[in-house]
């Protein structure tokens, strides 16, 4: 009798765990189906601050400094600062003073890397709310 109760509890726990894993798997599939396919793009869109954005042609060579949600002339390491570099169709987060510098570790955005990067066409600095999007090549 007690063993039957134990079995029922185990089944209930396995069903709950299985349902959770199933839900997560379904959500992963939905995200993979909905996300835009990426190809060669012609510009980088940098989003920062309170909904502001800056579009830079991919072939330009330019260093952009964003400090405390605004464009700045040069980096000085103060405030919430990100330094973005764009060159030869590539963009990367050169420098940032966010807590874990994970945006710097996200590497280079270009026509080839967007196919295999975990974050696709994006470099995200969540703590400073600075985002780089490889735009224009979305099918």
């Amino acid at each position: 009798m007690e063993r039957q109760g134990d079995n029922r509890r185990n089944v209930r726990n396995w069903i709950l765990t299985g349902a959770a894993i199933g839900f997560a798997a379904l959500a992963v599939v939905v995200c993979l189906l909905l996300r835009p396919k990426t190809g060669a793009a012609d510009r980088f869109v940098i989003r920062y601050g309170d909904g502001e954005s800056l579009t830079v042609p991919a072939w330009e060579t330019r260093t952009i400094v964003i400090r405390d949600g605004k464009l700045a002339d040069e980096a000085n390491g103060e405030g919430a600062e990100n330094v973005i570099h764009i060159e030869n169709g590539e963009a990367w987060m050169e420098q940032a003073n966010c807590p874990h510098k994970e945006c710097v570790k996200q590497g280079v955005l270009n026509a080839e890397t967007v196919q295999s990067r975990p974050l696709g066409t994006w470099i995200v600095c969540a703590p400073h709310q600075v985002y780089i999007e490889y735009a224009g090549g979305v099918e």
Partner: protein, 168 residues
Amino acid sequence: MKIRTLTRMALLTAAALILGYIDSLIPLVPSVPGIKLGLSNLVLLYAVFYMRPVETVILMFLKVGLSSLLFGNAVGALYALAGGVLSVAAMLLLHRIPHVSVIPVSTIGGILHIVGQCAVGCVLISYKPVLFYAPWLLISGTATGLLLGVATRGAFYGIERYERRTGV
């Protein structure tokens, strides 16, 4: 609040902060920010099963607030808070089901933590990067939730055996 409860909460908050710090030192996938083992959720799992719901919720707020103050910033706190509120609410509700084990509670908590964070991402950034980001986070959240659940079940078994032996 009793001194015993207060002391236990202080100890658990300290443990959550230390585990959170250790967690931030272990990069699981360096190119995907935010993927962590979630070690500090062990403390919340303990609280869900061994403390009152209100104490668990206070502990979650303390963990999020203090870890954001010490190791993060305001935006990070928003993500952590959304994930924390959703996962703790789900874990407390699941715990009300009779004889539910810690494994499904931890797994569902891990998944809903990610769902909460993705929802904040959709509001703060846009849904587009979240579509790239979410699969990685969901896979890691499910795996770590499951692993932590299995580890916690072992710990609970030890705690219950100790309590039976000593009568504490």
